[in-house]
């Protein structure tokens, strides 16, 4: 059984996996980081988005063994103790979630959008960038508002 050694949310971990274990399975089932969700079988919904070496990817479409040596950030790695990350805070303030199933992926994508596109995001940019994240509840409107607000809040010295 292959062993994968990686950094997850700043912690060094080694996990035994099968060659065909997906990164999301290793995170959820081996490391019990169940904040990362699985919403589809077809690599389309984005509920599983995490950051690998600084890039947002779908962890259901990457083998765990491919993450050997990688630096992985999941939704659990965003908050600072009990203090929410500004993007999480913004989703709460703007009612950016209903059932919450899509939310971890939305927030990980949102933080990545800010990294690539900056803190002043217009609605069109946000909607285009959310192409790979599906939500069955909200109609997206408040998600878009939350991301615009979260992006601004991230400017004031918060870590990503």
């Amino acid at each position: 059984m292959p062993t994968v050694t990686m950094t997850v949310n700043g912690r060094n971990v080694s996990v035994d996996v099968e060659p065909h274990t997906l990164l999301v399975q290793a995170l959820r089932e081996k490391l019990r980081l169940t904040g990362t969700h699985v919403g589809c079988d077809t690599s389309q919904c984005g509920a599983c988005v995490v950051h690998v070496n600084g890039r947002a990817i779908k962890s259901c479409t990457m083998l765990a063994v491919q993450a050997q040596g990688a630096d992985v950030i999941t939704i659990e790695g965003l908050a600072n103790g009990s203090k929410l990350h500004p993007m999480q805070e913004a989703f709460r303030d703007n009612h950016g979630l209903q059932c919450g199933f899509c939310t971890p992926g939305m927030i990980m994508s949102a933080v990545d959008i800010v990294k690539r596109k900056g803190n002043d995001l217009d609605e069109h940019t946000i909607r285009e960038e959310l192409e790979g994240n599906l939500c069955r509840c909200t109609g997206y409107h408040n998600i878009v508002k939350a991301i615009a607000a979260g992006a601004k809040a991230m400017k004031s010295g918060a870590r990503a």
Binding site: P2, E18, P19, H20, L22, D41, T42, S43, G46, V49, R55, A56, I57, K58, C60, T61, M62, L63, V65, Q66, Q68, S109, D112, I113, E129, E131, G132, N133
Partner: protein, 265 residues
């Protein structure tokens, strides 16, 4: 997913030796192979991850060509200052593939090796008359794409890079399928002066193809109006739940004109 043995060779020679075995597939960005394995549409005994081979994602302008490594991710091509300067149409095409997460993983080599009839990169390769460089030979795009999900690649053959000749101007226009973002129809046009090339993806029953009538008309004068009156025949055009052949054929004309206009013609 059925299980398999996983290999991560450090160079192309080792990778080619591993890939010479039966029931073995290369893994690049995984954005096509892994979904297919997950749905058990395909199964393999060995997966050979090309991610451990250094330098395969390099992007360079070399004289009158742009050379893009097979492992260059879509996001890399979309944001590369070298691509944006030398061949902005290619950067714009890469930016339209799938979604940000797919673009952060999927690669040029994986896309053209897969040769999905609705994929974007095959249109750029054929539309620019690119050369596909493998560990064994150099294959002109005109002889590389062989029909639905079929290419000229043999067993153990690995795409290393794609050499794109630089045109005077070029543009890609895509009518995305609103659900999947793959091309319902996409048209790549390139004006090289002595030659004009028009490649169509998303529409052909045998995958990407060149629209030779359009090329001839545009060679006389590179302007959208040159395409007036050219009717795309529906024979050989795909019909499916998303669009019938007549609609797709019509879209080819519309997208071609828009591409010529966007290229400055």
């Amino acid at each position: 997913m059925h299980t398999f043995a996983y290999h991560r060779p450090a160079n192309t020679r080792q990778a080619a030796a591993l890939l010479a075995k039966k029931e073995t597939k290369a893994l690049a960005g995984g954005q096509t192979l892994l979904p297919a394995l997950k749905l058990r549409l395909t199964s393999v005994d060995n997966v050979v991850d090309l991610g451990g081979i250094k330098g395969l994602d390099a992007i360079q302008a070399k004289g009158r060509n742009l050379v893009v490594g097979a492992m260059a991710r879509h996001a890399q091509v979309a944001t590369s200052p070298v691509v944006k300067k030398a061949l902005p149409a290619l950067a714009a095409l890469a930016e339209q593939i799938g979604d940000p997460h797919v673009r952060n993983a999927g690669t040029l080599g994986g896309s053209i090796a897969n040769n999905d009839p609705s994929a974007d990169y095959p249109a750029a390769c054929l539309g620019l008359g690119a050369t596909i460089v493998t560990n064994k030979r150099k294959i002109p795009a005109d002889r590389f794409f062989k029909g639905l999900f079929e290419t000229a690649l043999g067993r153990g053959e690995i795409i290393l890079q794609v050499v794109f000749p630089l045109p005077k101007c070029a543009a890609y226009m895509k009518f995305p399928n609103p659900a999947s973002r793959f091309a319902l129809v996409g048209v790549f046009v390139a004006d090289f002066g002595k030659e004009v090339r028009v490649a169509v993806t998303g529409a052909g029953e045998d995958g990407v193809f060149r629209a030779k009538d359009m090329e001839a008309a545009l060679k006389k004068k590179f302007t959208a109006a040159s395409l007036d009156g050219i009717k795309v025949p529906t024979r050989g055009i795909m019909s499916d739940i998303h669009a019938d052949a007549a609609y797709r054929a019509h879209l080819v004309g519309v997208m071609a004109k828009r591409a010529v206009a966007a290229a400055g013609g």
